[in-house]
Symmetry: C2
Subunit: 371 residues, 2 copies
């Protein structure tokens, strides 16, 4: 499994793996893909610095990247306190009542609850970029829109290409105009923030729209070698996988005693029908695992989710409480429709070996059909 | 472009083309695919008989099929009058008010308005089967659920295989248990009745679920050779295309003077973002072209659509009025997200040639990536 971008990025396989876990990201890189570390969970630049030092020591000199979240359009400077004041009491009451109804206990006194909130702010994301560019990163991706022009310029000055996710042709064109090097065409079936157009239609549309100078990766619904072959058939030069790594053995976030986390147990049990695209996670449509938490927000008494970033702040403590309660029936987790195929815990290396073998079998089938 | 099913069905390419137009269906068959004529528009068996006689004369002895609509679960016997009584006055008032607001005139006196309504009833669909089996058809497909067991048996006695659409693995398993020979895995991106799981995820799930004895065709979002290659990569043995034929030059339904119909003009102008999945067409979720008509139903004052078949009866006259008014901004038409690639009127033969050439190019790319 090899395309033109392998040489350009110094990778063995055109598989880009997004994950918030440095252990998973490093394992993807070591297995010949491009591990891309999600940075939104780091509130402080020092935390990220420490983790990137660990990445440098555990990737055998092979390439890795980082993913930041810089929404293009929201006014996010100011203190958390300022933003807190914009959240209606009705919304807070609904969250409290729902958590109570679902049996999710309050956090222990003194437990930090703002996890993941500050990483959405531009000031924090810029500090992530500054830190990351001091490391030998080979990619900066932005999960929401084009990064600001000065960030793109700063990355290019360091020789680091920039990637951005697109859920429609118009987003992709906008990215290219802004100087983005790699467009990640993310279909409806993807986990997290996603649009309404499915990969089968979106990927070739974006490939045709951006022209030959822009690399297109396919994202959304990919967790097998057949799907990678399909992505390349559609014209992508590689794939971007996110959800599938959540049930890898190296993924330890949220697991208390080294065993499976409640989230992982929920993911292993879910079918492809057990996701929902909703604004409750961040204020923008994102696909989540369907659980009692997402169901509560779809009931008639539930308020409409707030715009980004207010919704994320509203549910920040709820997410921390849900994580601490460790109940597989009450989980707040972005994941794509590929969750139906995430049915066992496997190592990253084992997953990668399987992807490549199945890709080869699919390619053989296509080659035969063409002759 | 050739798979194992080509020999079984006596076709040159594994492309199944569903269309309500006998001119398009015959052209697909003549071009080496399997034209499948949609029968729901025929209220009387005699009308279908006449059209199938025409098909026999215009398909050069090559194979074609028919598509009936037999919802598995609804009580549909009884007169139209019985069903009419179940439609709330509020719904009728909304439809009248909306058509008036959109400038859609009433039908001329005496104009039949029940087009397409009766074809949903089991008694009518059974008469379609009886008529069709007297012709040399090579396939009977059912667009909604498994056909009743006796219909499957009747088809098999005539040596005619049966196909059924599936939007989830559970549907596919149910079809196979009922004796269906061909499962059409129809993804979220498809036009008409469709589920929530996108093709990239759905097709391999269904391929793995039904086993080797059942043929799987991929449907949803397919209108290019790259997408056919992707479908085969995902494990399908062929594709089922519906939307894409609506802008073929042979498609004349709804065009008054032989020029483009208002629907075709609307389809040519639409992007992949211009569809909506809604229950307003039939009572079950179906993807339609987004127009002022669908937008009216999504406003806060709109009633909830009725269950099948009441919604179809409710909007039957509205569809006839909309068709007669010939306004491209007020159209009621099922179409998939592939509509964004339907940008010119082409002959069926030209479309087929393009599909095959692009498939070959995609296959060459995959073959290279695997070596």
């Amino acid at each position: 499994m090899r395309t033109d971008i392998c040489e350009r990025f110094g990778i063995e396989y055109p598989i880009f793996g997004f994950t918030p876990s440095e252990h998973v990201a490093a394992a993807i890189t070591r297995a010949g893909g491009m591990g891309v570390l999600g940075c939104v969970r780091f509130n402080e630049a020092d935390e990220l610095e420490e983790v990137l030092n660990w990445m440098d020591e555990n990737t055998d000199g092979k390439p890795y990247g980082v993913d930041i979240v810089m929404p293009a359009k929201i006014p996010t400077e100011g203190t958390t306190m300022d933003l807190d004041a914009l959240i209606p009491a009705e919304h807070r009451a609904f969250v409290d009542r729902t958590l109570n109804d679902l049996g999710v206990p309050p956090l222990a006194t003194g437990h930090a609850h703002a996890v993941g909130v500050l990483g959405w702010l531009h000031s924090v994301a810029r500090s992530h970029v500054d830190v990351a560019l001091k490391h030998p990163i080979k990619l900066i991706a932005n999960a929401l829109g084009s990064p600001p022009k000065d960030i793109i310029d700063q990355s290019h000055e360091h020789g680091v290409p920039v990637a951005a996710l697109a859920g429609a042709v118009s987003h992709a064109r906008h990215h290219v105009e802004n100087g983005v090097d790699i467009v990640i065409a993310q279909g409806y079936e993807a986990g997290g923030h996603t649009g309404e157009i499915a990969s089968m239609v979106l990927v070739p549309e974006i490939v045709d729209a951006v022209g030959d100078d822009t690399v297109v990766l396919a994202a959304g619904g990919i967790g097998s070698g057949r799907q990678i072959a399909a992505a390349l058939a559609l014209g992508a030069q590689g794939v971007w996988m996110g959800s599938y790594w959540l049930t890898c053995s190296e993924y330890k976030l949220g697991s208390a005693a080294g065993g499976l986390s409640a989230t992982q147990r929920a993911l292993l049990a879910a079918t492809s029908s057990d996701t929902v695209r909703t604004r409750i996670f961040s204020g923008k449509p994102a696909r989540l695992l369907k659980t009692k938490w997402t169901e509560a927000w779809s009931k008639p008494d539930a308020p409409s989710p707030l715009p980004m970033p207010l919704q994320n702040i509203l549910v920040g403590e709820a997410h921390a409480r849900i994580a601490a309660s460790a109940d597989p029936e009450v989980v707040a987790m972005p994941v794509g429709q590929i969750v139906g195929r995430m049915n066992e815990i496997r190592s990253v290396a084992d997953v990668m070996t399987g992807l490549i073998a199945e890709f080869d079998a699919a390619a053989t089938r296509i080659t035969k059909a063409a002759n």
